[in-house]
């Protein structure tokens, strides 16, 4: 029995009936797992036990069905893996089409936000305002400003759906009972309309990724 078994089952050493049953159940699981993985001796043991306890054979059949489920997973993982080739451009310049659109959308959003700021804000660096959504200043805290931004952005239809709670990126204990420093990332899905977008596409003989400006079609019929 490995040390992990004892760690996972601290009652194992106490010799109670429950602990003994757990031991027996685990021993059967190990036997079944060996049989499923192709161990002929284990399979013979399972068959021998099944002669007096048909439930063991039933269990083997169900584990076999689970193994066949995993075969399907294997096919999908193989198909997924075979689609991914090592990138030829510099890794930092590599983008999949999907992520390239995300990068382009980020650039367009930054442009749009800058435009909004120049319309709504005074651009006074001495007293910067959080006015991405045209919300005025004078908040007691950054959290109040954020909540007000979300509320205003919902009104304008910029934010739709739920705003995900902050996601913890990392944390560390500060010591001396001061608590923990937690680094979080807030993500808000915004809907924006951009006049054009930029996509990264390979070009030239080297296939180097370069930005390409995409302008809207005028013949798109909805």
């Amino acid at each position: 029995m490995s040390s992990e078994d004892h760690a996972m089952n601290p009652d194992m050493n106490h010799g109670t009936n429950d602990a003994m049953n757990d031991d027996n159940a685990h021993e059967l699981d190990v036997l079944l797992a060996r049989a499923i993985s192709g161990d002929d001796a284990a399979l013979a043991e399972v068959r021998a036990r099944g002669a007096s306890d048909p439930a063991v054979l039933e269990e083997l059949a169900m584990w076999q069905a689970d193994e066949l489920r995993l075969v399907r997973v294997a096919r999908e993982l193989e198909a997924t893996a075979n689609r991914v080739e090592a990138p030829h451009a510099h890794p930092r310049a590599v983008r999949r089409a999907g992520l390239g659109w995300a990068a382009a959308a980020a650039i367009a959003l930054a442009w749009f936000a800058q435009s909004s700021f120049s319309r709504n804000g005074s651009g006074d660096n001495a007293s910067p305002r959080a006015s991405v959504a045209g919300v005025s200043g004078g908040f007691a805290s950054a959290d109040d400003a954020f909540d007000a931004y979300v509320a205003k952005a919902r009104q304008e239809g910029v934010v739709t759906g739920d705003v995900a709670p902050p996601t913890i990126v990392r944390s560390r204990e500060l010591g001396d009972g001061q608590g923990f420093e937690v680094i979080v990332v807030r993500q808000v899905y915004e809907r924006r309309v951009a006049p054009q977008v930029i996509r990264f596409a390979p070009s030239g003989e080297t296939g180097r990724m370069r930005p390409v400006v995409i302008r809207p079609r005028t013949d798109l019929v909805r």
């Binding site: 029995m1 490995s2 992990e4 078994d5 685990h26 699981d29 190990v30 079944l32 797992a33 060996r34 049989a35 499923i36 993985s37 192709g38 002929d40 399979l43 399972v46 068959r47 048909p54 054979l57 269990e59 083997l60 059949a61 584990w63 076999q64 069905a65 689970d66 193994e67 066949l68 489920r69 995993l70 075969v71 399907r72 997973v73 294997a74 096919r75 999908e76 993982l77 193989e78 198909a79 997924t80 893996a81 075979n82 689609r83 991914v84 080739e85 090592a86 990138p87 030829h88 890794p91 590599v94 999949r96 992520l99 995900a164 996601t167 913890i168 990126v169 990392r170 990332v185 993500q187």
Partner: protein
């Protein structure tokens, strides 16, 4: 109590189950990182030359090293990535890291250990940041199918695989990883013990626990489906 005929059928099925149910490599010649771990001298020299070339930055060699290892890395990612995170995206990250840090390619053992750490870190970052586009295995297959002119029956397999992966995602990675590596890549307990750097007895325990958990989760899902069906019919 089962009569003797079904018992014979069950044990016959079990004896016919191949030692490894992992599918054969689709691209012949790409090889498999774990195939023939006990290498002949000639093969060992060949592999050493490949690694030398890859470590020096030879693109063809790096590509070959990636192709040989990508399938088992996909299994590691699937075990550690949270549900809904795109394994294909994470594979791209790992591939990019391999290209950027090809100097790590020295020998098989150190390469596998390093790639596994890179893959696990990528999966954990995905779980923390949640900034990667959330797509299930089903959507990955759908996306691949949509690039074709017509949808193929492969989407059905993808849907079934996605259901199973949803169950596997509920198993702690410490158990899910050896399970997927054994079932999808055909790794032996010895190979798993070397890769995960734990004793073989620990691997045996983890595999047994993983399969027991999968069985329990599958049984719960079956019961839930039955209840839903009963409610709908009633």
């Amino acid at each position: 109590m089962l009569n003797s005929e079904p018992r014979r059928v069950l044990t016959t099925m079990a004896s016919q189950l191949p030692k490894s149910t992992a599918p054969q490599a689709a691209d012949a010649g790409a090889g498999d990182s774990f195939a023939g771990d006990v290498l002949s001298l000639a093969k060992a020299r060949e592999e050493a030359k490949l690694f030398e070339r890859a470590a020096r930055g030879d693109r063809a060699a790096i590509d070959e090293v990636w192709r040989v290892n990508r399938r088992w890395i996909a299994a590691v990612l699937a075990a550690h990535a949270p549900r809904g995170v795109d394994v294909e995206d994470l594979l791209q990250e790992v591939a990019a890291t391999l290209v950027a840090k090809h100097g790590h390619i020295r020998d098989t053992a150190s390469l596998r250990g390093w790639l596994r750490v890179v893959a696990i870190n990528a999966a954990r970052m995905a779980a923390r940041s949640k900034s990667i586009e959330r797509r299930s295995l089903r959507a990955v297959a759908d996306g691949a199918a949509q690039t074709r002119v017509e949808r193929e029956p492969v989407a059905r397999n993808a849907a079934a695989a996605a259901d199973t992966m949803a169950l596997v995602a509920r198993i702690p990675p410490i158990y899910a990883e050896p399970l997927l590596l054994q079932s999808t890549q055909g790794l032996t307990q010895r190979q798993l013990a070397t890769l995960l750097d734990v004793p073989e007895t620990t691997i045996e325990t983890r595999l047994a626990r993983a399969r027991r958990m999968l069985r329990q989760l599958a049984a719960e899902a079956e019961r839930a489906a039955e209840r839903t069906k009963t409610n709908q019919d009633g």
